[in-house]
Amino acid sequence: MSMQQEDATLDQNRTEDFVTMSIGGQIFGVPVLDVRDVLGPQRITRVPLAPPEIAGSLNLRGRIVTAVNMRQRLGLAPAERPERAMAVVVEHEDEHFSLLVDEVGEVLRLSERQKDHNPATLDPQWRQIADGLYRLEGNLLIVLNIGAVLGAIRAAA
């Protein structure tokens, strides 16, 4: 614990940029450098027999990208208007994935000072894919660990 505190002190002034997005009312962030693209609603081809988190495939400028339904991945109820979902395109192990979220917000520069570890009470399903959280004014931002979000889908499948 003391080590971590030390780290925290050292990193006090470090900042990181996050693309923010909202899924089921909760704000999430993905490091800007991990994001390849942000897209509006897309035509998605459903893939039969795919794991439930996989919404389908879409054509991103000639590249076939797998769309992940983030609500499903987080165990939330389906969106009321799924056709309006926005897509955050990320890269994982040389493959592109499109994370379907309710809304994409602005890019925030956040300081390590605002960062916290995952609270022990966090839902286990969420804890696996959360890389800590940031205290915003009147809100909390959960950092998504892309590897964990996508890795588990493959493993489960």
Partner: protein, 996 residues
């Protein structure tokens, strides 16, 4: 430096491959100076580069090998198998080192003294003195003095340093020179290499250095600059504490005078440098006598070099990922183009029309060109084989020639990579198991040299690769024994197979026929992997062999994996692509009447001409639920063939075929076996590509895939299925029962309360005639309730077997076990789909339904008016039980022989037969043997014989004919047998009459 190292690795790996094959060639054409020159140059470059990069182990090995090659070039050594083996061994060591270098970024620790010492001994003539050219015997004495200078000064590392220093000095002097830095880097490297070879005496002294200088002049270096370089080099040597005399000796090789324009054209034509500058005497003395001869050959080699340099400037090394990206971009461009064209069609007259047409054309051409960049000659996958075959021959003491043709046949690089290993394995197998030892070949009356042929050619969108040898071939009896021993098949199963089918067992996992494991092959892994690899890329492999004459593998592979022709189908509003190659035909069915589709307990089958085709709905397979709206007016059946398994896939709509660019599925979706990839259609939408293999496996479960594993490799056209489609049903009790599907004419379902009573029989009006209905107990069927009916036909007559429930259609092997005191109507029981199942005797029911008409009709139908005596030779109890009652009913008197030996005994005992019906594959003597033996005996030479087999290809037929059979019929078609018997007997009678 890292880039430099990578470049070096890529170049060296390529050079080594070239060396491999050229050395083997050299062994065959030892007198070819151009070849020798080329080999020497390659080895020399490797050595020089290693020295430059500071790789002492590699350099030392290459150096030693180069020495041997130098001696050969100078005529001091002859090209012998030992010499070539030794150099090849050095190459192998270099490859090992390179491989580790590529991984670790530096040379591994260790010593190469073993290889180097052997090479030195060889170079010094201590190896097999008899192989030394007489005049060269005194030569080795000169070697130490030459080595002396180079080694005394400090060897390669010192020269590297000196060159580096000199070039660094030059850089500061000529910094205004464009690209001076890279140029000097090259110079540094070239110079170090040139000095190394000039001073070690393995090369002809100054040609290399002259070459470097000439190159500099060509690049516009002035004489002043050259002198400066020479001086800087001298200074550098001096600072490295080289003795003054040695510096002078070294510098004497750096002849700036060579920088005359003429030197560019033919540096080798220059007067020997030593004559100009007699500063040091020792190199001149080292000049070997045969050098004149070598000199004379030099211009030719130089020309060759110039030619290859010209060829090099035409090619460019490009990273694969760049090409892949290019391919993606082109796909994208094609899509955009398609969209534009679609818009254009909508607006009619437009000023954009002409430029868009042009864009269209250019895009197509671009696409084609980019595809072209992925194509590589198949020879690239073969380059290692000559070496492999040579080593194999040496190790096994065999004489093997490898003949390759069609090496320039091009195919997609991805496919090339996939077939490289399988090809290697097959060639290795041919050399190891196929080709016999020279003495065995002599005994067999063949030339001592065995030949392995490798050929490739285009054939209708595919590439056909053949690997054949003229060796001993495969012994079918050994394969058979092995297959049984390894539990790959039961005797009964194998008995029903043709020779060719048995041969395909070599593709089964865990199969190896090599009597002993050699270091080369015979470990029981291999051919199954070969088959798997080839099938992975949508190819097929076939094997044929004649014992004593050789074996042949034929591989059929698609030209490219990247673009395939696909049929676009729709199911519940979603589209899928189906590779055209596995689609046999399309059938449209009106969904109201669903004519031809019959439901068997929820499993639909379709009567396509004369066979029942299992159907599977794509919506069920993919678990796409009904969209809720009206079912479509008509459905389509995509008749699909996978190996020997044909089935129909029900879809809602069928669109065009499209050329699609296949992309791999995402890792998250890869476990779905029903898809083989994904693609983007012309309109930009993403669709999944269906995998016919996966669908076939999902359709019929493990039974089918097991059957598939056995015979998938065989081309469908030449292959009859060795498994039997069985209809599984329930009737009477809870036990499942089965009947070969081929014996069922139709499946019906009828309300038996509408059936009529005629005498003691229950009959039903069916297709304009009366069909007797019987129950499973053989008694007339009870007239109540709705029941499925299995319809058997015989001639014009029919019989319906009323059953309780049809369970399934299962593709499986029929391994029949007899039950003691067999119940009438049951042939025996077999394990079908994991359950013990009674196999019914259809003939029994036909007889029960109407014994009188059956006997009568069959007699009439087959013209067996008097009792004919038939000898039935059949080792499988199932077929004996199937055929005997039927033959008896048709009016024949049947005698059974369980194998050919028994048949011979019966024949020789004095029994008379009008006709002999014999199985082909039997333990011991085969049917062919039996026919040949009997035909040779006076009493049996004219008796008609009919061959019986579970498969009847034209080749089988021809073979049967040659052995003496009058006809050849398949076991699974009893009617064909009866027809054949009657035909053969009547022609026989006819012949007797004419003879009389």
């Amino acid at each position: 430096m890292d880039d430099l190292l990578n470049e070096f690795l890529a170049e060296t790996v390529e050079a080594l491959e070239l060396l491999d094959s050229e050395l083997v060639e050299l062994e065959q054409r030892p007198a070819d100076p151009a070849l020798l020159g080329s080999i020497f140059r390659i080895m020399h470059t490797i050595k020089g580069t290693c020295g430059f990069l500071g790789l002492p182990r590699l350099e030392a090995v290459a150096h030693a090998a180069e020495d041997v090659l130098g001696k050969v070039r100078d005529g001091e050594l002859t090209v012998s198998a030992d010499a070539v083996s030794l150099v090849l061994a050095a190459l192998d060591r270099i490859k090992e080192l390179i491989a580790e270098l590529a991984v670790a970024g530096q040379e591994p620790e260790g010593s190469d003294d073993d290889v180097i010492m052997s090479l030195r001994d060889m170079a010094a003539g201590k190896w097999a003195a008899a192989e030394l050219v007489a005049e060269a015997v005194e030569e080795p004495a000169d070697l130490p003095s030459v080595d002396g200078l180079y080694q005394r000064i400090g060897g390669a590392s010192l020269f590297d340093t000196a060159c580096e220093q000199a070039c660094a000095e030059m850089l500061s002097a000529v910094s205004d020179h464009p690209e001076a830095e890279t140029e000097l880097l090259h110079l540094q490297f070239a110079l170090a290499g040139a000095f190394a070879s000039a001073l070690t005496g393995s090369s002809d002294a100054t040609a290399d250095i002259d070459g470097v200088i000439a190159g500099l002049v060509a690049k516009g270096w002035s004489p002043q600059e050259l002198h400066m370089l020479r001086d800087e080099f001298g200074k550098a040597l001096a600072t490295l504490e080289v003795a003054d005399a040695d510096v002078a000796a070294v510098l004497s090789r750096f002849n700036v005078a060579a920088a005359k324009p003429a030197a560019i054209a033919a540096p080798a034509a220059q007067e020997p440098v030593m004559a100009d500058e007699p500063i040091v005497a020792e190199p001149a003395a080292a000049k070997p006598a045969p050098a004149k001869r070598v000199k004379a050959e030099e211009p030719a080699a130089e020309n060759a070099q110039a030619a290859s340099a010209a060829a090099q400037s035409q090619t460019l090394r490009v990273n694969i990922t760049v090409l892949e990206n290019l391919m993606n971009m082109v796909s994208e461009l094609v899509l955009t183009r398609n969209q534009l064209l679609q818009i254009l069609r909508g607006v009619g007259d437009s000023p954009f029309a002409a430029p868009l047409q042009r864009l269209n054309q250019v895009t197509s051409e671009l696409q084609e060109s980019v595809m072209q960049t992925r194509m590589q000659p198949i020879g690239n996958a073969w380059s290692k084989l000559p070496r492999l075959v040579r080593d194999l021959g040496q190790e096994l003491g065999k004489k093997i020639d490898l003949v390759m043709s069609g090496a320039d046949t091009e195919l997609d690089r991805q496919i090339l990579e996939s077939i490289r290993d399988p090809l290697t394995h097959m060639v290795r197998n041919s050399g190891d198991h196929g080709i016999e030892a020279p003495e065995d070949r002599r005994e067999a009356g063949k030339p001592e040299h065995g030949t392995i042929r490798l050929s490739a050619r285009h054939e209708g969108g595919h590439i056909i690769v053949e690997v054949s040898d003229d060796g001993r071939g495969l012994s079918t009896s050994r394969i058979r024994a092995k297959a049984i021993q390894n539990g790959l098949a039961t005797e009964a199963q194998i008995d029903g197979m043709s020779e060719q089918q048995i041969q395909q067992f070599i593709f089964r996992p865990g199969f190896s026929t090599a009597a002993q494991v050699t270091s080369v092959s015979g470990r029981g892994v291999g051919m199954d992997v070969v088959r798997t690899n080839i099938e992975k890329i949508g190819g097929a492999i076939e094997f044929s062999s004649t014992e004593g004459q050789g074996s042949r593998f034929v591989i059929k592979i698609p030209l490219t994996l990247a673009i395939v022709s696909a049929l676009i189908v729709e199911c519940r509003g979603e589209r899928f692509a189906m590779p055209q190659s596995s689609v046999v035909e399309l059938v449209r069915i009106s969904s109201k009447s669903q004519q031809g589709v019959e439901l068997i307990n929820g499993h639909p089958v379709y009567r396509l001409r004369d066979r029942l085709l299992p159907l599977v709905a794509l919506s069920d397979l993919l678990k796409i639920e009904e969209a809720g709206d009206e079912p479509p007016q008509e459905i389509y059946v995509v008749v699909t063939q996978v190996g020997s398994f044909a089935f129909g896939i029900i879809v809602d709509r069928v669109f065009d075929t499209e050329e699609i660019v296949v992309k791999p599925t995402s890792r998250t979706l890869r476990q779905i076996s029903l898809f083989s990839g994904t693609t983007i259609l012309g309109d930009g939408r993403v669709i999944m590509i269906l995998d016919p293999n996966g669908i076939a496996a999902a359709t019929s479960g493990s039974a089918q895939s097991e059957a598939r594993a056995r015979d998938e490799a065989l081309a469908a056209s030449r292959q009859q299925r060795e498994t039997v489609s069985m209809l599984v049903f329930r009737a009477g009790d809870d036990n499942t029962k089965a009947v070969p599907l081929s014996l069922i004419a139709r499946l019906e379902e009828a309300d038996l309360s509408n059936a009529e009573r005629a005498g003691e029989r229950t009959v039903m009006q069916y297709r304009g005639s009366l069909m007797p209905l019987v129950g499973i107990d053989g008694a007339p069927a009870r007239r109540d309730g709705k029941h499925p009916i299995l319809v058997f036909t015989e001639g014009e007559r029919m019989c319906g077997l009323v059953v309780d429930e049809v369970v399934d259609i299962v593709e499986g092997s029929l391994d029949l076990q007899l039950v003691g005191g067999a119940q009438s109507g049951i042939l025996g029981s077999s394990i079908i789909a994991g359950r013990s199942t009674d196999v019914i005797d259809t003939v029994h029911y036909l007889r029960q339904s109407d014994a009188a008409w059956f006997d009568l009709e069959t007699r009439e139908a087959y013209g067996a008016e008097s009792e004919r005596r038939v000898l039935l030779v059949e080792d499988s109890s199932f077929f004996r039980n199937l055929l005997m009652p039927m033959l008896k009913m048709a009016g024949y008197r049947v005698t059974i022989a369980e194998h050919a030996e028994a048949a011979l005994e019966i024949c020789r005992d004095g029994d008379e037969f009008d006709i002999i019906v014999s199985d082909i594959e039997m333990p011991g003597l085969s049917g062919f043997d039996l026919a040949r033996t009997l035909r040779a005996e006076e009493r049996w030479k004219d008796v008609p014989m009919v061959a019986l087999s579970s498969h009847a290809s034209p080749q089988d037929f021809e073979r049967g004919r040659r052995s003496g059979f009058n006809d050849y019929v398949t076991k699974l078609d009893p009617r064909a047998l009866l027809t054949s018997l009657s035909r053969v007997l009547s022609t026989d009678e006819h012949r007797e009459e004419t003879a009389a």
